[in-house]
Amino acid sequence: MKGFAHFLAGLTTATFIVVIANQFYGNNMIADAIVQNKVLIIILGGIFGILPDTIDFRFAKYLQRHDYEVDMVEWDLNPHKVADTLAKAIDQAHDENREVNVMLHTVKISSDQWRQYTVQFDTENKKVLCDIGPIISGFEKRPYINTYLPKEKAHAEASFKADLKYNYDAVTHVDILSGPDFSFFPEKDGSVRADFIPWHRRWGHSVTMGILFAPIGFMLFGFTPLGWTAFWIIMLGYWSHILTDHFGLMGSNMFPPFTTRRVPGFKVTRSMSPLANIFTNYTNVLLIIFNMNAWSHVQYFTMPWATMLNLTTERYAEWYIVSLLNYIIYYILPPILVAYFAVVWWRKRKGITEELSDKEARTKEQLEEVGGINV
């Protein structure tokens, strides 16, 4: 998901915790603190909801050491350098039985022009392929079609000896902003595992970090009801990020330092899909509105099902759950379903098939994230 969706999801989580804490401590205590004493506790949810990406893209990225860096310039484009370096790194990881990292830098030409090149791992033939592509413009990545290099200058291959395990798309594009990096791990069975942007979705995207950050709540508000509320908001806000990310393909490393690999995601959606982002944000905004109504002294709207079942705020839990269910079915789901089917219908009519293979989609997701443009 984009940073904004994470931020909103964090805020939404916070509002749910406020509703629960409000009932737990009674007397509308937490809500009054927010509405009347203007305590900014809910923002913590948003801040810690976006924090995992902040950690990765503002810190973890820079802490990554690289054994090799490939840095080409427009007037000296050499695909062999790219292919050879990667092949060398793979073998080195195998031979020296250690992790070897390679950074592929982008080729910037002007403020909005970049030279694109691609890298491909052919695991069957044990080859690394590199192709220099066209110059592209800006974020839209449109190619200047007369800037392709001649085939013989653009293509290079390099062989490696080790067995390579690579789970991503065949072709990796290197184009704008920061380039991607690869990490090669020697595995116990003697093969080498390639990891793409190794610093991302590791310790920063973990359940463990959420627990570590949570006590900040006590630092802000002491061991008071507000402090406890903040504790849960921070922890669950942080986790909300990991959970939403998990609906994508890449997954996260959940329990460092006890685990070291990323657990694959649920593969429901791609993080950059506008539709997925819009739906998530819509749902979050509506849930925030629902919760604000639920904790206010006067309910500005009531749901018909709760009224039908004669539920009032006297029996808060039942009233809340029935109303929420009703709200979701009346207001959240229908617009999303209508929009979804409209888009599906539109795409079918126009004959657009954007269905990507798992591997392709996963690479694309990571590439889109790597530039940092998502946050």
Partner: protein, 440 residues
């Protein structure tokens, strides 16, 4: 209602649109400054004019401003507070000889924004009322969240080349910290301007003019003056390079952002548009330009539509507050008149923008950009001096210095909007910094 009255209404809308269009061509002149003068004039006239006619004229001016300001912001590069997000793509368009295309895209967004205001806002009237009732008691943390997001989403603009982790962190955090510094300084300037009017009392209602012109206009003009560039011959295409999907995506995102800005105090079109471009996962210049056109119109004009919206009557934006001094909207009929006026002014402004842009695209490249920038700078200085006297000029210089920080360090210029965001937020959250600064 009398037919003659209806015709008078249409006449006043036309009058306002034409006056507004002409004045909005002046770089740096904000419509609120002009409206301020019109209001003063109106009060001294002793309110002889029917207030509804006056309202319709002001609406005509506002709508035309929301459209026509695109012209100076693209051709003279003197963006106001809400155009700065467009600035980068629009400068690129100008450089690529597609200035007119950029204008058309923004105007299209604005056009759809007007449709959103006149067609969709009334449909969601009831919902807006409920949401407003809920939002009003939570506004402090909502604005706080907007600020938090703006700060957290500032990202490093290095390209991954660094010698060691420390060097990398330094490179990365240079732009981020420059952004935070801008935010802090602009916020401080805002707190000072809001809590103590530094300019003469007679000009008090223009108090935000000097900081805004300094932060957004003069700073970029200075940048234009020190950097080497020239305006190439502009193409005059009969079609625009955009897909309907991009127009729809951009205008929906822009309208939602503009509505958010019109709804929540302290949030301006720039911030609203920025938030919604994230919320709608926008990509690409075209949908961005379209969305900016939409968000500006929905922000400025939507504020008025919300003010006249039966059951809501939200008083947001300087025009709504100004109108409220002499008029309280309440009937459905007034609302119909206002929406009719907005739609009419929208159509006229759209054509004004397109034809003005055609004219300028032809003649602007013949002008030396340095001369153009100096002329604009002089106009701005004269305007600020006339409206806020010499104290305003000092504030403008300080603001210019702050406005240069993000430009020089490549961080986001939206941080300058802290000048409005921070003081209003502090006020809403019940935090008073003024005593700390020794202002009371």
């Amino acid at each position: 209602m009398m037919l003659t009255y209806l015709l008078m209404c249409i006449l006043f809308v036309l009058l306002g649109t034409l006056v507004g269009s002409a004045l909005s061509m002046l770089p740096g002149l904000h419509v609120y400054n002009v409206i301020g003068f019109f209001l003063l004039f109106y009060f001294t006239m002793g309110l002889v004019l029917d207030p509804m006619l006056m309202v319709l004229m002001l609406i005509g001016m506002l709508v035309s401003y929301a459209f026509v300001f695109t012209i100076p912001s693209i051709y003279f590069s003197a963006p106001d507070d809400s155009t700065m997000f467009v600035l980068m793509p629009s400068q690129r368009y100008l450089k690529e000889k597609k200035g007119h295309e950029a204008v058309v895209l923004i105007a299209t967004g604005a056009l759809i924004g007007v449709m959103a205001i006149t067609i969709f806002v009334p449909i969601f009237m009831g919902v807006l009322g409920v949401v407003w009732d809920l939002a009003i008691s939570n506004i402090h943390w909502i604005i706080g969240a907007v600020i938090a997001f703006m700060l957290l989403s500032e990202f490093p603009k290095d390209f991954g080349r660094h010698k060691n982790p420390l060097h990398g962190l330094k490179e990365a955090w240079k732009t981020i910290l420059a952004g935070y510094l801008t935010f802090f300084l602009a916020g401080l300037l805002g707190v000072i301007t809001f809590s103590k009017t530094l300019i003469p009392a007679g000009h008090a209602f223009q108090s935000l003019m000097a900081p805004l012109i300094g932060l957004f206009a003069t700073s970029s003009i200075i940048l234009n003056l020190i950097s080497k560039y020239e305006i190439p011959e502009q193409n005059m295409p009969k079609s625009v390079d955009v897909r309907p999907r991009e127009i729809v995506h951009g205008s929906v995102a822009g309208s939602v952002g503009g509505l958010f800005a019109a709804f929540i105090p302290a949030v301006t079109a720039g911030v609203g548009g920025y938030m919604s471009s994230h919320a709608f996962a926008q990509q690409g210049d075209k949908s961005f330009l379209v969305s900016m056109g939409a968000s500006r119109v929905v922000y400025y004009v939507g504020a008025i539509a919300l003010f006249f919206l039966p059951t809501l009557h939200l008083r947001r934006g300087a025009l709504a507050m100004g109108i409220n001094l002499f008029f309280t909207p309440e009937t459905v009929q007034q609302f119909y008149l206002v929406d009719a006026g907005i739609a009419l002014a929208g159509v006229i402004s759209f054509f004004v923008v397109i034809y003005a842009s055609k004219f300028l695209a032809r003649y602007i490249p013949k002008v030396n950009p340095k001369t153009l920038n100096i002329v604009v700078l002089v106009i701005l200085i004269i305007l600020v001096y006339l409206m806020t006297s010499w104290q305003g000029l000092i504030i403008m210089s300080i603001a210019t210095a702050i406005g240069l920080v993000p430009v020089l360090f490549n961080s986001r210029r939206s941080h300058c909007l802290a000048v409005i965001l921070v003081p209003i937020w502090l006020n809403m959250a019940g935090i008073s910094l003024a005593p700390l600064l020794g202002l009371w």
